[in-house]
């Protein structure tokens, strides 16, 4: 079990993480979802004993990360957002050295694990290539593979599929799920909605260093009132005011982004003609209309007031 208790990290006069509290259960996959700069990496590096929290505490299986860093390091493995691999070494050597440092496996066991991972991630052909000659995507897979071969009790993947092509993303997701099935607790930091939704059992939304919500993706969607979203694009939204639509009892919330209006409501199909009517009589030109179920994307928007990308 991992506990963050009112954890904070200040860099100079910037609060990268502020008053962050969460408990992560053994064996779950937690998605840490937030835009760039939200504080995800800082959170993970504090847990991994690289940064010291400037306030609050973090415990990993009961060990305080500041007081017992060596015990914590034996439990955790972090696949970094930007690959941290020695350029002069090959993928095989990077993984083999990582295993020498993190496990008691003997030479044969190490070779088997590394071979399996390289094959599973489609890196076998380039196993002898120095990593500085690899493409960004290949290097990223080597970085992820470090933790996949290590199989730590707590595995952290920081944006594990950034810069990967679609087939590679699927491979990495499959391997991460397998790691969880074998008993590891997994934390995936991501700014990609599909990754959070497809991989995690629970999603923690992080924004500006703070935890804004943490539930299963389904529960999160349930917290958005109405369950439906009407997306309207106006040719000019500058005169639009939310109260033009909140007067309908079925409308729970209205968000405006430039010319795009998001209306959170129920009975959308019945209400749609009335909304179109209201706006037309006010002189707005409607360019497009889309009615859909609430997605995690909408959840994110309602909690943070902004979109991910």
């Amino acid at each position: 079990m991992i506990t963050f208790e009112r954890t904070g990290k200040r860099f100079g006069n910037l609060d990268a993480v502020k008053d962050f509290s969460i408990t992560i259960k053994d064996g779950e996959i937690l998605g840490l979802l937030g835009p760039n700069g939200a504080g995800k990496t800082t959170l993970m590096l504090m847990m991994g004993t690289v940064y010291r929290p400037t306030s609050g505490t973090i415990t990993v299986n009961g060990f305080d990360v500041v007081k017992h860093p060596n015990e914590v390091r034996r439990l955790i493995g972090i696949a970094f957002q930007d690959p941290r691999v020695d350029g002069i070494l090959s993928g095989f050597e990077v993984l083999n050295w990582h295993l020498k440092m993190t496990t008691t496996l003997d030479k044969d066991e190490r070779r088997n694990r590394v071979e399996d991972a390289l094959k599973a991630l489609d890196l076998w052909e380039s196993r002898k290539k120095r990593t500085w000659l690899m493409s960004g995507g290949m290097k990223k897979k080597v970085e992820d593979a470090k933790i996949l071969v290590q199989r730590p009790s707590i595995a952290v993947f920081d944006e594990p599929t950034a810069f990967l092509d679609v087939p590679s993303r699927l491979l990495v997701w499959k391997m991460i799920r397998r790691l969880r099935d074998e008993g590891s607790t997994v934390i995936v930091a991501t700014n990609m909605m599909d990754e959070a939704e497809r991989l995690s059992e629970r999603v923690a939304i992080v924004n500006k260093g703070k935890l804004v919500a943490s539930e299963t993706p389904e529960q999160l969607k349930g917290t958005v009132k109405g369950g439906e979203v009407l997306e309207l694009t106006l040719n000019d939204g500058s005169e639009f005011r939310p109260d033009m639509l909140t007067k309908f009892p079925e409308v729970h919330d209205v968000k405006k982004q430039d010319n795009k209006i998001l209306v959170f409501l129920n009975s959308g199909t019945l209400l749609l003609p009335k909304i179109v009517d209201t706006l037309s009589t006010q002189g707005f030109k409607i360019e497009s209309v889309k009615l859909k179920e609430v997605s995690l994307e909408d959840v994110f928007l309602t909690y943070t007031g902004q979109r991910l990308e």
Binding site: G48, N61, G62, R73, R74, T103, R151
Partner: protein, 270 residues
């Protein structure tokens, strides 16, 4: 929290693995050594440069200088091996500073090796690397001047190693305490210059400018050069110099490990 701290998560042995620290120190050191073997041409070019410097420049100079009772060519040869090992030992600090800038240090700091052991492993790796690198030059000098006494060779190598280990410790201490790249380069370059040039490695103390002769006897490079020459040429142990070398290592690795390295934190600060 109700549950007591535990390292066992019911996982395979790898998750809770605790290698003995000595093994981890060695693996850390070997990582630095292995870099050298991946670029063997560096050793070859440096050995060639050394030969040229020694047999052209030093030979010329010793023709110009006549010091009664001193074979300056021999003096210079041993001293330049010592100066070389000092200068190569400084490299590990640059390596670590670069790792910090590139973020590789953050990765290394997540590995299950305590901070002090990590630094000691890096210092050891840097020193082993410097010794391996200098051995061809040492052999050339030993061959040309006929140093064949095993005990003197051993003592000379021990003093070289102590110097290397102390310098790597110092270089790493500077690397992890100076956060600005410009200042780091300057500090390290100055230290290297002061230690090597302000030492008895290449010139006897009686020929130095007065202000250099004041602190040159206390340079660790002097300690190592004096020990090496005393044992290779004079077949005796220079105990005070040897003690100085040990003190140098203790100061930078012992005290650093006890008070400073423990608090090492990752990240690059503006």
């Amino acid at each position: 929290m109700s549950s007591s701290p535990t390292l066992d998560n019911g996982l395979s042995k790898t998750a809770t693995a605790a290698e003995p620290p000595t093994h981890l120190i060695l693996q850390t050191a070997l990582r630095d050594v292995s870099v050298l073997f991946r670029t063997p041409w560096i050793i070859i070019t440096r050995a060639l440069a050394f030969i040229i410097q020694l047999f052209v420049f030093a030979f010329l100079i010793s023709g110009l200088i006549h010091i009664p009772g001193l074979n300056f060519f021999e003096y210079y040869a041993v001293g330049s091996v010592v100066a070389t090992i000092a200068s190569i030992s400084f490299v590990i600090g640059y390596d670590i500073f670069e790792e910090a800038e590139e973020g590789v240090l953050d990765y290394l700091l997540t590995l299950p090796i305590p901070r002090r052991q990590f630094i000691i492993g890096r210092a050891l790796g840097g020193a082993m690397r410097a010794i391996i690198y200098t051995i061809p030059m040492f052999l050339i000098v030993a061959f040309v001047w006929g140093f064949t006494q095993p005990f003197s060779i051993l003592t000379a190598l021990v003093s070289l190693f102590l110097l290397a280990f102390g310098v790597t410790g110092m270089s790493i201490t500077v690397a992890v305490s100076v956060k600005s790249a410009n200042r780091f380069d300057v500090v390290l370059a100055l230290l290297e210059l002061a230690m090597s040039r302000g030492s008895t490695a290449l010139y006897p103390i009686t020929f130095m400018p007065f202000y250099v002769s004041l602190f040159a006897p206390f340079s660790p490079v002097s300690f190592a050069a004096d020990t090496a020459r005393m044992s290779l040429v004079g077949f005796t142990l220079d105990l005070p110099a040897l003690a100085g070398l040990i003190a140098f290592v203790v100061i930078f690795l012992g005290l650093g490990a006890a008070f400073y390295f423990r608090r090492l934190e990752g990240g690059i600060y503006g």
